[in-house]
């Protein structure tokens, strides 16, 4: 199967222009030949690769009689995963479990592997988006799509969407939200730093608007893949 490549138009910033826009997105689906679905997804310089295997055979110990067991492995560029990666892996797994209509595949396993390619800030969000693309490519039945957006607050309380690694280092708070595509409600959140409840609300609303661009990007990419 040939790989399909797509990019997002010029209205998105090319590195550090407006703080209220997402970095340009680029995605390629069906990049790997042996997996049932795969995607590489990059936001700015940040890049991840995901492969989906399944629904397939399941180990007896992990077999669930009423739904598929979803297994997510996060691979770093170098080194072994520590506690910090475990917490991210859990967010990724639970997010995938929620999105996949697992009850349609009882007694099977769906294995998802995510490989870090390059981390230049807002990496967890990139991973979530990458996994969603890979699941779309694998044609796994899903209840909704998932898109994640990162936003940060600097010391003046200004909001910065999709910060890069340099921008991340001088932020007082960082928030990651994953939304579903039917009602745009929050599936997952992960925050660092401290902030007020009002700031949280503002970030939640801004990220929701930004997530709609990502959903549109998913749609465009799949349309391009299927039209060929």
């Amino acid at each position: 199967m040939p790989a399909h490549r797509s990019t997002m138009g010029s209205k998105f910033r090319t590195r550090s222009s407006s703080p209220m826009e997402l970095r340009p997105m680029l995605s390629e689906v069906s990049v790997l030949s042996r997996s049932d679905g795969s995607a590489s997804f990059s936001q700015g310089d940040c890049c991840a690769l995901a492969a989906v295997y399944g629904p397939g055979e399941v180990k007896v110990a992990k077999e669930l009689s009423d739904k598929a067991s979803v297994e997510v492995v996060f691979k770093m560029k170098v080194g072994l995963p520590g506690c910090k990666e475990k917490i991210q892996e859990r967010i990724l797994r639970n997010t995938c479990e929620t999105a996949i209509a697992a009850t349609l595949y009882p007694r099977t396993a769906i294995d998802i592997v995510i490989q870090e390619m390059h981390n230049s800030g807002s990496f967890l969000a990139t991973c979530i988006n990458c996994v969603c693309m890979a699941m779309l490519d694998a044609c796994v039945d899903m209840k909704y799509l998932v898109a994640a957006v990162t936003c940060g607050l600097n010391s003046e309380g200004e909001l910065i969407l999709d910060p890069t690694l340099e921008q991340e280092s001088d932020l007082t708070a960082l928030m990651i939200f994953a939304y579903e595509s039917s009602n745009f409600e929050v599936i997952a959140t992960y925050t660092t730093g401290s902030f007020t409840s009002d700031q949280f609300q503002i970030c939640l609303i801004h990220c929701r608007e930004a997530s709609k661009h990502i959903f549109q990007f998913f749609r465009d990419t799949m349309a391009r893949k299927l039209s060929k």
Partner: protein
């Protein structure tokens, strides 16, 4: 009869109760189990606390040692929280290396300390670049009945407030450390984070402080950590059912109230502790 119904159809059993806005153990949806704290229960540790949240029991002991600082942070002390979920506390855990959940809760503690900035690591410095204090905060769950995160955060903060360290000075001439056992000092705790966990049931009903049984039936979970002056320092929702903005806002408001209650509880307990 009720027991049979519960065993056969646990979800349906819960639904029947939740229709009437009450939970099988008699609590309302936003009600948190009775909380009990015992501070300074381990005399051999520098600081300790035992927290009971309903049946969930977590014991925290803080041990202090003097160590060399990290070269990138020469004037900062080190705080190492470690959560142990032994086979003793629940049938879901097996003996052996720490489970994924134990690692996740440990990392959660690390991030709560970092995000809230409750302790200035510079306070733990003895001599920059040479000697700093390292605080090993060991949290052991003795009884696992759901919501260990909240119990762990409470136990950790109570134990840190109880820490009393001897004064240590560096003798410039000999280069040795001198310990003054008579002169004790406590940590300067800048704020006290409190965690509140909510479980989502059937994608729509949200209730606070889930028990083990409720956690198993829940379709999602969200933990909110707040500090004084209604600041939020951690909102952790690792997937699970989507939550609308107003429900999330309700959870935030509930957690502010809970945090105030928990802080008062720790304060009143501390007053009665003879250091």
């Amino acid at each position: 009869m009720a027991a049979d119904f519960k065993t056969a159809q646990p979800v349906e059993y819960y639904r029947k109760f939740l229709e009437k806005d009450v939970r099988p153990d008699g609590r309302e949806l936003g009600e948190i189990r009775p909380t009990m704290i015992n501070i300074g229960s381990i005399s051999t540790a520098e600081g300790s606390a035992l927290v009971k949240l309903g049946n969930t029991t977590v014991l925290c002991g803080v041990k202090a040692e003097v160590t060399n600082p990290k070269s990138e942070e020469p004037d900062k002390g080190i705080i190492v929280p470690n959560v142990d979920l032994p086979a003793l506390c629940s049938p879901r855990f097996r003996p052996g290396p720490p489970s994924e959940q134990a690692q996740v809760v440990s990392q959660f503690m690390v991030e709560v300390i970092q995000n809230s900035g409750c302790i200035d690591p510079k306070d733990l410095c003895i001599k920059a670049g040479k000697h700093v204090w390292v605080l090993y905060c060991d949290l052991v769950c003795l009884d696992y009945d759901g919501n260990v995160t909240d119990a762990c955060v409470l136990a950790l903060m109570a134990a840190l407030k109880n820490v009393s360290l001897p004064k240590v000075t560096l003798n410039e001439e000999s280069g040795n450390l001198e310990t003054h056992m008579q002169e004790k000092w406590g940590l300067n705790i800048l704020c006290q984070p409190v965690a509140t966990t909510f479980a989502i049931f059937d994608d729509c009903i949200v209730f606070a402080d889930p028990t083990d049984e409720e956690e198993n039936l829940a379709t999602g979970k969200v933990t909110i950590v707040t500090t004084e002056e209604d600041k939020i320092c951690f909102v952790h929702k690792p997937g699970g059912s989507p939550l609308s903005d107003d429900k999330l806002q309700n959870c935030l408001q509930r957690s502010f109230i809970r945090a105030r209650e928990a802080r008062n509880l720790v304060e009143t307990t501390l007053v009665n502790v003879d250091r």
